[in-house]
Structure formats: C-alpha cells, structure tokens
C-alpha cells in the first residue's frame, strides 16, 4: 500500500536524521581527539625510544672505547719485551679479568709479520697467522681497531680490540678479545625493562650480537627491511609487519662511528599498549553511546510514527465524516432547489390535467367512447404528480428542520412502538420479529421523532431484504459503558461488499426504480451523527445484514445538533 510505503520512508528519514545528526559531530569530535592523542602519544613513545637508543649506543660505544683505552694504556705502559714475556702477559690478563670480570678473554702480541709472539688465554695451542686479516691490516694502518664479528680469529665470535705500537722501527700489535657473552649482556642491559629486544648488525647487515631470531624479514634483505640506508647516521624508527604478520616497531641507532647499527625492536601492540588501551576504552564508550542513540532514536521515531499514524487515521476519519456531512449539506441545498424548480412545473401539469378533467364534464365529451381512458390518464397524471411531490418533500427533510427537540425518553417504549407499526407488514412476508431489549436501559437524551424515523427506516430496510423468503428480524438494545447500542439484524439477501462503502450516500439505492429514493439511510446517518452517535453496518451476502447504532446516554450530541443545523442553515 502507498500509505505503508509513505510511513516506511517517513520512519526511515526520521530514524536517519535522529541517528546521523547526533552521531556525526560525536564521531567527528571523538575521531579528532583520538587521532590527536594517538599522534602525540606516538610522538612521545618515539621520542622516548629514540632517547633510549641514543643512550644505549653511547653506552656501548663508551664500553668499547674504554676497553680500547685499557689495551692502549697497557701497550703504552709496558714495553714489547715485557709483554712478550708470556708469564707477564698471563699476569696482565689475570689482572684485567680480576678487574673487569671476564670481559677480556685473551691477550696476544703480534709482530709486523702477523706472527704471534706471545699469547695468554684459552686458545694457546693454535698458532694463527694474522697478516691477511682485515682487523690486523686496519690496526697496522690506523693504529687501532675494534673489529666486527666474526673476527676471522679461529671462528670464535668475539670482538677484537687491537692497538699498534712501535719499537725501534718495528711495529707490533697488542690484541685482546672481548667475550661475546659479556658484550651481549652489555647490549641487553641497555634495553632491559622495556619489553623489547636489541641486536647489533654491521653496515653489511652482518649479525653481530643480541637477539635477532624473532625477526622474519621475509624476502627483503634485513637492511632494506629495517630501512637502513648507506649514509644514515641519525636514529630513526620504522614500523613493519614481519613475515608472521606481527606489527613491530624498529628503532635503529648507529655506533662505532656508524660501522654498527643497534636495532631495538618491539611488538607495536606492546609499545603502544597504553594508547591501545585508551583507544579501546574510548571506542567502547563511543560504541555504547552510539548504540544508545540508535536505540533511543528507534524507539522515539517508532513512537512518533505511531502518533502520526493515529493522527492521520483520525484526520481521515474526520474528513470522511466531514465529507459525508458536506454531502448531506449539499444535498440539502440541491433539495431546496429541486423542490422549487420541479414542484412548480409539476403543479402546473397537475393543474392542467385538472383543467382537462373539468372540461370532460362538458356534454360534448360525455358521448366519447374514450372518456374512461381520458379519466384514467388524468388520474395517473395526478398520482404521478403526487409522487413527485412526495419525493421532493422527502428530499426537503435534508434542508428542513424537522422536529429535532431533544427529550429524555425510554428507549424500550420507543423501539416497541416502532416494532408494533412494522408488525403487520412482517406478518404478511412471513417474518418473525425477535426482540432482545435489556429491561434496565437508562433513559436517553435524543430527539424521539428522529430516532423513530431512523428505526423505522432500518426496520423497513430489513423487511425489504427478507421480503421474498421470510426470515428473522432481530432488534437488540444494550448498554455499553456510556453508550446505548441498538442493533437491527436480518437474515436476508445481504449487501454486496462493493456497495457497503456507498450505503450511506444520498441517492444510493439498489431497490428497483420507483421503489426507493436512496435517501433513507443517508437521512439515518445524518440524524445519528447529529445525535452524537455512530451508525455502522456489517453484512454477508445471503446471510444478512446488521445495522448497529451507538448513541451516547447524555446529550453529548447537543453541540453536534447546533453544528449540523448551522451547516444546514448556511446552505439554505
């Protein structure tokens, strides 16, 4: 139905407006706030992490430089002869180890040919040649070295620290190895308590120390994955999704003059756990508020829709009633016109017929063999004239004030009177009248003349409906709260559904031409409305019809009477 569609779209737009209008600013404002707080929180985290890395690189650098300084001081303090004395060298190692723990794993003195001159440490049995190694070359050329791992020294992964010294035109080198575990611990210490891990790689992406095993950089090279470029020197942070789908942040700082990169990494969810928690709470609140708005709007718009529907229904009902009243009023106007315009010519016709009748009395016509026919025809004209008069008079009951004085009457007597009047006709048609009238009906304020007219009309209609095969006419009256309900039922032919809606319309009739004016029920309708009541009909074909009148006990119809007569008078 079009109306349903209309209500649906109305509901939809009410709901949408109700939801969208408060939601848009809410989402916008909270979105902006969330975004801003996320940005500043991330900035803060980043700054913090960068500071940590900065400190760590400095710490590691200092550690290595300290060790270099230790070795350098030893080479300066003692001469080549002393240091090549293996007992002395062992003594030195012992002292260093005693002082620093097992940071220094060994000590070695190498001549300018790259040959071991003296050694103190766990790998005594080996006699390696160092001439070709990178660290040896670098030490010889620059004077010192802190080597990458692996150092190429007997596959033992430790950091080599070496210094070159000069003895009578001949260079020699003092080398020590930094224990990998110790160094690893130093690296680890710098980032402990943060939840992440750290490792060191060199410029070529070669792993040096720390925990790298969580990094799944997939097909990309590690350097590319971490975003380390050739000339990078400053600390930077990247966020990457690793091969196993985890989002991590990677903070890279450089140490050892840029040779090494210290990479700190952590699960993003962990690093930003505070932010995520805040966001979750905010989103939950927003969601709850949103749901509340939606639910509230839904119930509100449903309520409003119901109101609108009800108002529409009432409006429609009112306009239908107005329409019916208007129809009756215009019928009143029309009736008055018809009475004037038709009645006069009819009067003339009847008069002329009367004149012919008069003339027929004269002698010359008395002989005519058609005299009887003439008289019959004239009688017919008179009868039909009377019929016209009757119709116009009935029509005029719309325009005319009938006796509509309101009196307090006993309904039982009134109905019984009407049934008595109709009883004779009912008997002729073989119809039984069945009365079910409650004895304790209170007095009712109506116009008795008008109510009689209504009842007589309904009874006559019922009798008409059962004229051919007889039946039972039931009249009941009962009290329903402050209304009296009168029902007139027949088990006659019934009313086709198509006609039900028009049954109270003026001039609507299903009776044969000349039998009914189609005014009876519309007059009834007008009267009952005037009395402040309702009249309705229900009918089933071949089962019968029931007309139901509801009348208020107290004269609530008084205003309506005035209203109706005002309308009718204004039409005259």
């Amino acid at each position: 139905m079009a109306a349903d569609k209309h209500y649906k779209s109305l509901m939809k737009s009410m709901f949408l407006i109700g939801v969208v209008v408060p939601l848009i600013p809410m989402v916008l404002v909270s979105g902006i706030i969330l975004y801003q707080s996320r940005v500043s929180y991330k900035k803060e985290i980043r700054a913090h992490l960068e500071e940590v890395i900065q400190k760590s690189t400095e710490h590691i650098d200092r550690f290595l430089e300290d060790k270099l300084a230790d070795i350098s001081m030893m080479a300066d303090t003692f001469n080549f002869q002393q240091l090549t004395d293996e007992f002395f060298l062992v003594e030195m190692l012992n002292r260093l180890q005693k002082h620093y723990g097992h940071v220094f794993s060994d000590l070695e003195v190498i001549d300018d040919e790259g040959v071991r001159v003296a050694y103190a440490g766990p790998h005594k049995s080996e006699n390696p040649r160092h001439l070709k190694t990178d660290w040896y070359r670098e030490a010889m050329s620059t004077g010192y070295v802190i080597s990458h791992m692996p150092s190429g020294l007997a596959d033992i992964p430790f950091i080599i620290i070496a210094v070159r010294k000069n003895k009578m035109e001949k260079d020699w080198v003092l080398r020590t190895g930094i224990d990998r575990d110790v160094f690893s611990r130093v690296v680890k210490e710098t980032v402990t308590g943060r939840g992440g891990s750290a490792f060191i790689i060199d410029r070529d992406g070669q792993y040096q120390v720390g925990s790298i095993h969580h990094i799944d950089h997939g097909e990309r090279s590690l350097m590319d994955f971490l975003g380390i470029t050739e000339g990078a020197r400053d600390i930077f942070m990247v966020q990457r999704t690793d091969g196993s789908g985890h989002k991590n942040i990677y903070v890279t700082g450089f140490l050892k003059g840029g040779d090494w990169a210290l990479v700190y990494y952590q699960r993003a969810s962990e690093a930003f756990s505070g932010l995520i928690k805040t966001e979750m709470i905010a989103l939950t609140v927003i969601l709850i508020v949103g749901l509340l708005i939606v639910a509230n709007t839904l119930s509100l718009s449903k309520k409003m829709l119901r109101r609108i529907q009800q108002a529409d229904k009432e409006k429609q009902k009112r306009s239908e009633q107005m329409f019916q009243t208007g129809k009756l009023a215009s019928i009143g106007e029309l009736a008055a016109g018809i009475a004037h315009e038709i009645n006069n010519p009819v009067a003339i016709m009847v008069e002329e017929a009367g004149w012919i009748d008069d003339l027929l009395e004269e002698e010359e016509f008395q002989e005519s063999k058609n005299l009887g026919e003439f008289r019959r025809a004239l009688r017919q004209i008179r009868t039909q004239g009377e019929r016209c008069k009757e119709i116009t008079h009935k029509l005029l009951s719309f325009a005319r004030k009938t006796d509509s004085r309101i009196e307090t009457i006993r309904l039982n007597e009134l109905i019984e009177d009407m049934v008595t009047i109709s009883a004779k006709r009912a008997r002729f048609s073989g119809i039984i009248i069945n009365m079910e009238i409650k004895k304790d009906l209170p007095p009712i304020e109506v116009s008795p003349t008008e109510l009689q007219q209504v009842l007589l009309n309904l009874i006559n209609n019922a009798l008409d409906a059962m004229e051919k095969k007889g039946g039972i006419l039931s009249i009941s009256a009962r009290l329903e709260e402050d209304h009296v309900v009168i029902e007139v039922s027949d088990d006659g032919v019934g009313i086709p559904e198509d006609n039900i809606s028009q049954i109270f319309d003026p001039f609507f009739t299903t009776k044969p031409v000349g039998k009914g004016t189609g005014l009876g029920l519309s007059i009834c309708y007008g009267i009952i409305k005037k009395l402040g009541g309702e009249i309705s009909v229900r009918s089933v074909i071949d089962k019968g019809s029931t007309f139901c009148i509801r009348l208020p006990l107290k004269g609530s119809g008084k205003n309506n009477v005035e209203e109706a007569s005002r309308i009718l008078n204004s039409q005259q």
Binding site: A339, N344, V346, A347, M349, G354, W355, E386, K389, T392
Partner: protein
Amino acid sequence: MHNIKVLLVDDEREFSETLIKRMKKRNVDITGVRGGEEALQTLDQSPIDVVILDVRMPGMDGIETLRALKKRHPLIEVIMLTGHASVEVAVQGMEFGAFDYLMKPMQIDDLLYKIQDAHQQKIIQEQKIDNIKRMTSGRE
C-alpha cells in the same frame, strides 16, 4: 361560491391562468395578478374577500405582501401557497395573520374548501365588528 371575491397572486402565468379557468368553471369570482404591488393596487380599487398568495415571487415576496396587505386590509383573509414544504415560511405566514396555507400541487377541492372557510371567517369577523359598532353607536 359566486358571492366570494377571490384574488390570486402568483407570478407563474401558466399556473394562475389554468387555476383561474378551473375556478371560474366552479363559479368562483376570481381575478389574477402577477405580483405583490399589483395585488395591493387591486385591493385598493375593488373589494376582495379572500387572497390566494404564492410565497415565492420575484420582487415583493409572499411574506412582505402579506404584511403590507394585513396592514391595510386586516379583514381580508389570505391563503398561502407554497411551492415547497418550507415549514418556516408557513409558520411565519400564520404568525403574520394568514388564514391557512397549502402546498403545490394541491387538490382543487382542498383549495375550494379553504376559500369557503376563509370567507366564513371573514364574515364572522365582519359581523363581530358590526356588533361592536352597533353597541358603541347604541350607547351614544
């Protein structure tokens, strides 16, 4: 009936002509006029017993004519003719002193009876007036 002088006031020529013919056939002394003013003029010139007055007329309508007529000739009886069943007009007419009213189309016999009754009423009224006059003159 021939001694009753009747005046028919009706604007509708066809109706009044036929009615007059029928009345004359029944030996009623009847004349017809078209409207209120004409009726009042006629009444001033010739004596009339009963006036049959149509309610709806152009110009001076039935009620106005009735009032003017009763003012000048209170003893003349008036029978109102209405083209429609306007009870208000009928009641108004009676209030202004009409003898009776009839609805068109009417039976000619009904009209005749009413004319006779009206005439009878007029005679009674006149007799009463005569009596009073006689009584007052006797006293003098």
